[in-house]
Each structure stands twice: as C-alpha cells, then as structure tokens.
Amino acid sequence: MRERPRVLRLVTALVMAFLLLPVVVVAVFSLNGERSLVRMGALDTRWYRTLAHDGDVLSSLAYSLEIAVATAVISTALGTALAIGLRRASRVPARTTDAAILLRLVAPETATAVALLLLFTQLSIPLSTGTLLAAHVALTLAFVAVLVRSRLANLDGQLEEAALDLGATPLQAIRLVILPLVAPAIAAGALLSFVLSFDNFITSFFATGIGTQPLPVRIYSMLRVGVTPEVNAIGVLMLAIVTLVLGGSWAVGRAVSKRRGVRI
C-alpha cells in the first residue's frame, strides 16, 4: 500500500516537469543576453527592449487585443441569448441549434477554418478585420452557449415560471431573475472567449487578410523566417496579459460575490 503513492508521485512529478519545462525555457531564454536559443549568456533584458521598439509586433498585439475584446462582447451577448432562448424555443429550431453547438465543439478547427475561407472566397468577401472577427465569434459562441446552458440546467426552472405567473414580462423575467443567476457562467464565457480569441492561431491563420496580422499569426511568420529570442519575450508578454486578465477578473468576481453575500 505504501509503495503505490511513491510511484504515482514520481509519475506526477515527471509529468509536471514535462509540461512546465518549455515554459521555463521560454521565460529563461527571454532574458538571454546572447542571440542564441540554445546557449544561455548573461542575463539581459535586450529582447524586451527589442520588443518594445518592434512596431510590427506591438501593432499586432494591439490588434489581437481589440479582436479578443470585440469577440468576447459579441460572443457573450449572442451565446447567452441563445442559451436562454434554447430552453423554451420551438422544438425543431432548438434541437437543430443544439446539434449544431455540439458539432461545433468537436469539429476539427483546421476543417472549420478552411470551410470559412471557402465561404469568403465564394462570396468574394476580401479577408479583413470583419472576416477575422466573424470567424472568432463563430468559434467561441458555442463555448459561451454551453457554459450558460449548463448553469441554467442546474437552476430551478420554476423560478422564471413563477416570475411569469406573477405578471413579469419575459424580458423582465430574464433581466431580474435569469441573468443575475447565470452571471458567473456569463463571466466565465466572456473570459473564455477572450482567451480563445487572443491565443487563436489556426482559425486566424486562414481568416487574416493583408495588413496587420493578429499576434499568433505574426509569431508564426516570425518562426518560419528565422528565429530571434524576441519570440520568447513575446511569449512572456502574452502570458503576463492573459494572467492579468484572468487574475483581475477572478479578484473582481470575488469582491462582487463577497459584497452580495453570494457564493459562486
């Protein structure tokens, strides 16, 4: 009996090392004073200084942030409305939408991304910020819908029935009863859409036109041409941004739930 945890602990430690090793390599080599990706020189912030003056990368970063915020706003609004409507909408549209959401979640991203590209070329829509945003919304919407729907499924469906019986209009029932109750799932959906969009490579790769590229696509082009350790600094910067967004919203969520006296 005492033997088994030792083996399990060893495997767990090795798996964690395996998963964290590249992250450590990225972080350490972002501070490399030399131009090498394999030999560590003196600690230096030169790649961060390079990054701070790299206009292309900085505009890609700003572009990615804009797209991620816009995606989060649109996907959260549409996905939440969809999840709320899904419960009581007519049978056929509800069933069909349900199936489409599931299919969307399991479809390989490469296939759906080229499918969108095919649609845009067929409709002669030039690739632009609009096509990129549409592609990101189409990708993240289903995640929001699933999150909100599972939260709704755990709620007592009679609450909104009661509100309606007591004379509330459906919109009042949604605003005063449903939305406050599913707020945590909506917030989680918004965050997930933001992160999925900000980090997304495959879909962006096919939906980006000429002009500014979103950051992951920019990184891809940089890696293909010839690598500078600047890429490591970009990786750390993206890590910092996502951590800040997630940590910040976690803190806000905690403060809100504390003030309301609700446990989320």
Partner: protein
C-alpha cells in the same frame, strides 16, 4: 410553457444564424466543393468529379492519412497512460496539493502554443539544450527533431491537460471506500483496480480520449515545427492546399475525409458506450 414562444425563438435566432451561416453552411460548401473542379486561375467551381478524392488517396498522400490516424491513436494512448496516474494521485493522495497540481497542469496554456512548441524545438534540436546536456554527461547525442517521435512528443505535450482534467473530475466523484471494500473482500490490488476503479473512471477516460483524439486529428502546427518531410499529417496537407500553390477542392476533399474520421470515431465511441450500458443493464437485470 407555451407562453411567449416568439420571444424565446427571437432570443435564439441571432446566435443560431451565426452558427448556420458561419459554421453549417461553410461545412456544406466544403462537402460540395470536394466534388468540384478548379478553373484556370485555380478558383474552385461547382461540378461533379471524384478526382479530388482520388488525389487524396493517391499513393503519395496515403501515408499522411494513415500517419494522422496512427499519431492520433498513439498520442491518445500515451496521454491516458500519463494522465491517469496524475489524476489518481491528485485526487487520492495529494490532499490540498491536488488542486495546485491541476492549476500547474493548465498553466502552460497561458503561453502561446506556437512559442511553446518552438521551445521544444530548441530543446530537442541536434545542438539543442537536451543534446548539450547529454553531451556534457558523456551520453552522446540523440537525434529526435524531425522524426515521428518529436511530433508525438509535441502532440502529447499539447493535449495532455485535456486528458488530465476530465479524469480528475471523474475520479473526484469516486468513492475510494469502494477500494477498501474490495480489499476487505480479498481482492488483489490489481483485481480491485480492474473491477472497481477502472470501470468507475470510464466516463473520464472516454471523455478525455475524445478531447485529445479529435483535435489531434486536425493539428498541423506541431508537425510543421517538430516534424520533418516524413511526418506530414492530414492537417498540413489541408493547410498547404489552401495557402500555398494547391487546389482548394483537393483541400476540401481532405477536410471531408477528416470530418468522416471524426464522425466515425464519435459514432464508434457512443455506440460502444451504449452497448456497454445495455450489457450492464442486462447483467443488472439478470442479477
């Protein structure tokens, strides 16, 4: 219940239209154009030909299709083998450390995927960090980068958390007193594991396998950065047909093959799961 149906339908509509217009219609287009032809400028036009499919199953593409399936299966199997002990340890033995380990498992996702995969490239390359270390210890060099092993390593690395999370969730609801009970009934540890713990963790294993196997089928960045000319996967072929000098119709046929593989996997999994349930129900009824 029937009240206000129009309002509920109205709420559903915008999101449903996005899914229809930007997901279902494009997928249908892929299927349609996989039977199409290209004009002189290489633009896809409607038609009916099975040439694209014969091109997909050309002898020079066939290895890539098989390789994709093989890599996906190998990745999934390795992920189960690695993730199960981790999830088990976190739930049963790690105590308060368990959730911390799970957070550490997910944390790498916060670094851009391409940057992390590239870090593996620098780790594994012939003059890279691992080989330098091996050389310093006098163990000689290993040539990994560009081989199938490097691609599988990268895929396992990228998708392992998706196996650990569902297993952790499933084992978290497992009552470990059942293991004690099994031992009290003179079950060997192996028998208890096979007859009690493993069947109870089946939902997590199935869920994790789908979460790993399906996206790996379509992956192309891993093979591009860690693989070589002999490790091309279906995803790479689709990507190159659409971005480089290729025919979009052939790429579409590739995508259809990928989707068929996916649907077959899902059908097989759920068919087996249902049969397993039915068998269990009959056994239960018989008992």
């Amino acid at each position: 219940m029937e009240r206000f149906t129009r309002i509920w339908n109205a709420l559903l509509t915008p999101g449903a239209l996005v899914l229809l217009g930007l997901f279902l219609v494009p997928l249908a287009l892929v299927v349609v154009f996989s039977f199409g032809t290209v004009d002189i400028l290489g633009r896809p036009v409607l038609g009916f030909t099975t040439d694209n499919y014969s091109q997909v199953f050309q002898s020079y593409n066939l290895p890539a299709v098989w390789r994709t399936v093989l890599f996906s299966l190998a990745t999934t199997a390795i992920c189960v083998a690695l993730a199960y002990p981790v999830a088990y340890y976190c739930v049963r033995f790690a105590g308060r450390l368990g959730p911390v380990i799970i957070v550490a498992v997910v944390a790498p996702w916060l670094v851009d995927y391409l940057v992390r995969i590239y870090a593996w490239r620098t780790l594994l390359s012939d003059g890279g960090i691992i080989n330098n270390l091996l050389g310093d210890v006098g163990l000689g060099q290993v040539h990994v980068l560009g081989t199938s092993w490097a691609v599988i390593l990268g895929l396992v690395y990228g998708y392992l958390p998706l196996m650990i999370l569902p297993l952790y969730a499933t084992l978290g609801t497992f009552d470990f007193r059942l293991v004690e009970a099994g031992k009290d009934l003179y079950g060997t540890p192996r028998a208890v594991f096979a007859h009690v713990t493993l069947p109870a963790s089946r939902p997590g294993i199935v869920g994790g396998c789908l979460l790993v196997f399906l996206p790996v089928l379509g992956d192309f960045a891993t093979a591009q950065f860690l693989g070589g000319p002999n490790t091309t996967m279906a995803g790479n072929l689709i990507a190159s047909q659409f971005t480089e000098a290729g025919a979009q119709t052939v790429g579409a046929a590739f995508a259809v093959v990928l989707i068929v593989l996916l649907v077959a996997t899902l059908a097989l999994t759920f068919g087996l799961a249902r049969r397993g349930l039915a068998a269990a129900a009959t056994a239960g009824a018989a008992a």
